[in-house]
Amino acid sequence: MASDKNLVSPDANLKPDDFRHIGIDERQAEVIQRESLSAWRDSWERLRQNKMAMTALGILGLIILAAIFAPFFSKFNYYSNDLLSTNKPPSSDHWFGTDDLGRDIFVRTWYGARISLIVGLAAAAIDLFIGVIYGGIMGFFGGRVDNIMNKISEILYSIPYLLVVILLLVVLEPSLGTIILALTITGWITMSWIVRGEIMQLKNREFVLASRSMGASSKRLLFKHLLPNAVGPIIVTITLSVPNAIFAEAFLSFLGLGVQAPIASLGSMISDSLTGWMYYPWRFLFPAILISLTMLSFNIFGDGLRDALDPKLKK
């Protein structure tokens, strides 16, 4: 190569003594220069670059914090009636105004957000629990077990979701517990299908074969190898199922099957406000904005999470 000669300037006047033999250190060849990123760190880095998703996450964090702590900062509570100050517009006293029984809407809105979030998160958690077990068994064992269990889930899934929920609540009478129960009665099916699909793909991979050939038990294979690798889609499904449960609870409030007074959820507040909200728009506006913002944030964050956890999907 011609350029080799020009690497050292002719004026440098180097002598052979200026050079030292350092040899080759075999160990240096394999040194990892850059920090190694776990799959989680990698996904997190991708998620962090998604401004929309991070904004949504921030808003969700704020909503959750406010739902827990905001009611403490007001001198009012969510259940006391004050019939001398009903349907008052927002003021320095009642920040979001009062409702038809003189209850403070600021406190009720955040308290309602707490209930809505509890319903959404609890329903998602139970869906996760049942869905992972049912889907894990279907995917892992396959064959006839899978065939029968899959047929059962398909039959249950064909029955319109909200109809089942309504029927159950008409019989059980709505309370926080029965609402969560009713929402999960067929809500876990989607999760079980996601888990089943993931496990079926994963179980034929080499690392599973390797573990199996070393004598790993079915339980170990499922919980140590298969499920941890299916965690991405599972998390995305949970994130997107929370707003669905929140919406379903709000929908039930319109049928009189949501949480019962004096407990409030965002849905029940909106439903209650509709009788006179032309004249008292604040009764509707604050819970409506909060429920929309919550559902919007969960949806945007869920979409961002999907892109971050599975870069292959990204267009």
Binding site: L156, S158, P160, V164, L274, W277, M278, S292, M295
Partner: protein, 312 residues
């Protein structure tokens, strides 16, 4: 697996699911404490026994169950428990036309507006129209329909007086409920159409069509649109479910006398036979819509291979 077997398989599932739903309604209603004749005023035991005999409640449970199944097959959903001489089938028949009108218009509007928005977003990919359409779509999916309905009612009916606040007496009454009901389906369809059209626009056969000199209009209508709206067909079933359940709340907000309103009222006073009847009616409607969707999808997309019972 041939077409006939596929259809038979789907049909079988529909019937089984329907059977499960009907049985569930029967046994759930039987699980409620008390009976139709539990009232504040005590009924003398002799009259109670006569009433039981008349309605077959003195027979064993399985006997009542099969009688109930038989009646449903014949389209007899029983009599209202709260309203005198109100036949449930008749009640549904009376109120169905308003709900049907609302639902059908909402479906048509959803498909047309949704496909148009999705198409524009795909054609102007990464331009302003694309982002604007997708922001609208995200909002449409996330904001609950009852919030949309109330806002529309407040702004356009109450403040601007452009449309009537409630009722269902003429075309002007349709705008707001239809808009509220189709907001979410429009958003879904726009997203589906956009992503599938983006895929189609990059397909080789579009390049071929361009290369052989077809006009852009012909390419769009003959190739892009036809292939791009295929996924929308799969959404028809869920969309029907969405619109039917959505109409329950929308009818309430806009004071439309459809089935949804009857349903809410029946739940309010725990009129169990009406609740059961409307549940079964909705169930049949939605499951048939799902069945048709499953079949239609195979017909419109010849690429789908019929393997196994699972939808591909």
């Amino acid at each position: 697996m041939g077409m006939a077997r596929y259809v038979a398989n789907k049909f079988f599932y529909m019937v089984v699911s329907l059977f499960v739903l009907i049985s569930a309604t029967f046994f759930l209603m039987k699980a409620i404490p008390g009976d139709p004749f539990t009232a504040e005023k005590k009924i003398p035991p002799e009259i109670r026994a006569r009433l039981y005999e008349q309605y077959g409640l003195d027979k064993p449970l399985y006997h009542q169950y099969f009688k109930y199944l038989g009646e449903i097959v014949q389209g007899d959903l029983g009599v209202s428990m709260k309203r005198l001489n109100q036949d449930v089938t008749h009640l549904i028949g009376q109120t169905f036309s308003a709900s049907l009108k609302l639902g059908v218009i909402a479906i048509i509007v959803s498909v047309i507006v949704g496909v148009f928005l999705g198409m524009m977003a795909a054609l102007y990919h990464r331009k302003f129209i694309d982002s604007a359409a997708m922001v609208l779509a995200v909002l449409g999916i996330a904001v609950p329909s009852f919030v949309v309905a109330s806002l529309l009612q407040y702004v356009f009916a109450y403040k601007l007086h452009m449309f009537p606040v409630s009722g269902f007496k003429g075309p002007m009454y349709y705008f707001l409920p239809v808009a509220a009901l189709s907001a979410q389906p429009i958003a879904f369809i726009a997203r589906l159409t956009r992503s599938s059209m983006l895929e189609v626009l990059h397909a080789d056969y579009i390049k071929t069509a361009k290369a052989k000199g077809l006009s852009w209009a012909a390419i769009l209508s003959r190739h892009v649109l036809r292939n791009g709206i295929l996924p929308v067909v799969t959404y028809m079933g869920p969309m029907t479910a969405n619109i039917v359940t959505g109409s329950v709340v929308i009818e309430q907000i806009f004071g439309i006398g459809g089935i949804g309103k009857q349903f809410v009222e029946a739940i309010g006073v725990r009129d169990y036979t009406v609740i059961m009847g409307i549940t079964i009616f909705y169930g049949v409607l939605l499951m048939v819509a799902r069945f048709i969707t499953d079949i239609a999808y195979v017909f419109v997309d010849p690429r789908i291979k019929l393997t196994g019972g699972k939808e591909g």
